[in-house]
C-alpha cells in the first residue's frame, strides 16, 4: 500500500515538474531546464514520449517471455500473463505513436513523415494488432495459447531490426538516424543534471506503474477463468 502512495507522489512530481519547469538559456536555479538546440520549447514532451515507447518494448518483451514459458510448461496462467502484458503494450504503443506524431508536428512540421523510427512504432502497432487478430480467430484455449505464443516469439525476433538497426542506418529525422551528427539529447548529455533526473524518474515511475497494472491485469484474467470453470465456488 505504502509503495502505491509513493508511486502516486512520484508520478505527480514528474508530471508537474516536466510540464511546469521553465526552459531558459542559462539555467541557474534547480528548477530550470536548459535550451536544447533543435528542441527548444517542445523538449518537455520527452518526459512522456520516451517512457511510453520504452514501456511498449518492455511489454512486448514480457509477452515473449511468458509465451516462451507457456510453450515449455503449457500452464495457461502464463498465457494470461502474456495476454495482460500485450493489452498494456498496445495501449502504450498507441500512446507512443500519438505523442510521437504530436511532437513531430512541432519539431519537423508534419504529423507523419515515414521516418524509420516512426515506421518502427507503427510496425509494432501492426504486430500487436495481428497478435490480437490471431487470438480472436481460434476457439480452442490451448491451441490459441500455443499459436499466439509462437507468433509472439517470431515477432519478437524481428523487433531488434525495428528498434536498433533500421532507424540507425537509414536516413531520417529522428535523433540517432544515419544523418544525425549527434546521438540525441540523452546520450550526448545536452540535458543538464536536473533534467536528466526528472527524465529517469519519469522512466522509473512509468515502469513501476506498468508492472502494477500488469499484475492487476493478469490476476483478474486468472480469477475470471477460474470462476468460469467453477474452480472457485461463488458464495
Amino acid at each position: 500500500m505504502i509503495w502505491k502512495i509513493f508511486l502516486f507522489l512520484l508520478l505527480c512530481f514528474v508530471s508537474v515538474a516536466g510540464i511546469s519547469f521553465p526552459i531558459v538559456d542559462n539555467p541557474q536555479a534547480w528548477y530550470e531546464f536548459p535550451f536544447i538546440k533543435g528542441l527548444e520549447q517542445n523538449a518537455k514532451i520527452i518526459f512522456f514520449h520516451v517512457p511510453t515507447a520504452w514501456l511498449t518494448v518492455i511489454a512486448f518483451f514480457m509477452t515473449a517471455i511468458y509465451s516462451f514459458k507457456y510453450l515449455r510448461k503449457k500452464n495457461l496462467d502464463d498465457d494470461a500473463k502474456s495476454y495482460a502484458a500485450a493489452q498494456l503494450g498496445i495501449i502504450f504503443c498507441i500512446l507512443a505513436t500519438i505523442t510521437g506524431s504530436v511532437w513531430a508536428k512541432f519539431a519537423w512540421g508534419a504529423f507523419w513523415s515515414w521516418d524509420p523510427r516512426q515506421t518502427s512504432i507503427f510496425a509494432l502497432l501492426l504486430i500487436y494488432g495481428a497478435w490480437f487478430a490471431l487470438r480472436s480467430s481460434i476457439e480452442s484455449e490451448e491451441k490459441r495459447a500455443t499459436l499466439s505464443s509462437v507468433y509472439a516469439i517470431i515477432a519478437f525476433v524481428t523487433v531488434p531490426f525495428f528498434i536498433f538497426i533500421l532507424p540507425r542506418i537509414m536516413t531520417g529525422l529522428h535523433p540517432g538516424s544515419a544523418d544525425d551528427t549527434n546521438a540525441g539529447p540523452i546520450i550526448d548529455f545536452k540535458m543538464n543534471a536536473n533534467m536528466q533526473l526528472i527524465f529517469f524518474l519519469s522512466l522509473i515511475g512509468f515502469t513501476i506503474l506498468y508492472f502494477w497494472m500488469w499484475r492487476l491485469g493478469y490476476k483478474s484474467l486468472i480469477y475470471r477463468d477460474k470462476l468460469n470453470k467453477q474452480l472457485i465456488i461463488r458464495s
Binding site: 510453450l71 480467430s137 538497426i165
Partner: protein, 220 residues
C-alpha cells in the same frame, strides 16, 4: 534429407498435375500489373516509385500463393497422415523447399514482366540487384512458410495471412526496397553492404526461429 525431398516431390507432382497454383498465381501477377498500369495511365512515375512498386507486387503475390502448402493439407484432410509419417522438421523442410522454388519462379516472372512494362525500371547495378533478389526471395520464403503453418491451424485463414505476415516481413521489405533503389541508381556493393548484411541476418534468424518453433505448431 531424403524424406523431405520426397515430400517436396509429392507436393511438386500434385501441383503439376492440377497446375492450380501456377495458373492462378500467373493470372494474379498479370492482373496486379494491369491494375497498376491502368491506375498510372499515361503519367510517368519516378524511378524510386517504380522500385517500391516492384516489392508491392511481390508481396501481394506471395500473400496470394504461399499459404497453399499448409492450408491445402488441412483442407484435404491429409495433415494427420503427414504428422504420422514424418518428423516435424522433415515436414517443414519439404514444405520450405516447395515454397522456395515457388517464390523464385514467381518473382522471376514478376521481374521479367516488370522490366518489360515499366521503362523507369532500369537496373544500373545488375549484380547488386541479383544478389538482393536472391537473398530477399530466400527471406520471403522462410518467413511466409512459418506464418502459413500458423494460420493453417487457425480460422479465417485467407484474411489472416497478410495481416500476420506483413509485420514479420517488414524489415525484409524495407531493406529490399532500399537495395532495389540502390541497384537502380547504380551504387556500389561497398555502399550497400549494411543493407545486404541486414537481409542475410534476417534470413538466418527467421530460419532458426522457424525450425525451433515448428514443432509446437505442428503437433496437435
Amino acid at each position: 534429407m531424403n524424406k523431405s525431398y520426397s515430400l517436396f516431390k509429392k507436393d511438386l507432382h500434385s501441383e503439376l498435375r492440377t497446375r492450380y497454383a501456377i495458373n492462378s498465381l500467373t493470372m494474379f501477377i498479370i492482373v496486379t500489373l494491369s491494375v497498376i498500369l491502368f491506375s498510372i495511365g499515361n503519367e510517368t512515375i519516378s524511378q524510386s516509385l517504380t522500385g517500391g512498386l516492384f516489392w508491392v507486387v511481390i508481396f501481394f503475390t506471395s500473400m496470394s500463393g504461399l499459404s497453399r502448402v499448409f492450408v491445402s493439407e488441412e483442407e484435404r484432410g491429409t495433415s494427420l497422415t503427414l504428422q504420422l509419417i514424418a518428423a516435424p522438421s522433415t515436414v517443414f523442410s519439404g514444405k520450405l523447399l516447395f515454397n522456395l522454388i515457388l517464390v523464385f519462379a514467381m518473382n522471376t516472372v514478376i521481374a521479367i514482366l516488370y522490366s518489360a512494362l515499366f521503362e523507369a525500371f532500369v537496373l544500373k547495378n545488375f549484380a547488386l540487384f541479383l544478389v538482393s533478389f536472391i537473398l530477399g526471395n530466400i527471406g520471403l520464403a522462410f518467413a511466409s512458410t512459418i506464418i502459413a503453418a500458423i494460420i493453417s491451424k487457425a480460422g479465417a485463414k485467407g484474411t489472416l495471412y497478410p495481416v500476420l505476415s506483413f509485420p514479420i516481413l517488414l524489415p525484409l521489405i524495407l531493406t529490399s526496397v532500399q537495395l532495389t533503389l540502390f541497384s537502380i541508381d547504380g551504387t556500389s556493393f561497398e555502399t550497400a553492404k549494411f543493407e545486404l548484411a541486414i537481409v542475410v541476418c534476417y534470413d538466418v534468424i527467421i530460419l532458426t526461429v522457424s525450425y525451433l518453433l515448428f514443432d509446437f505448431i505442428w503437433k496437435e
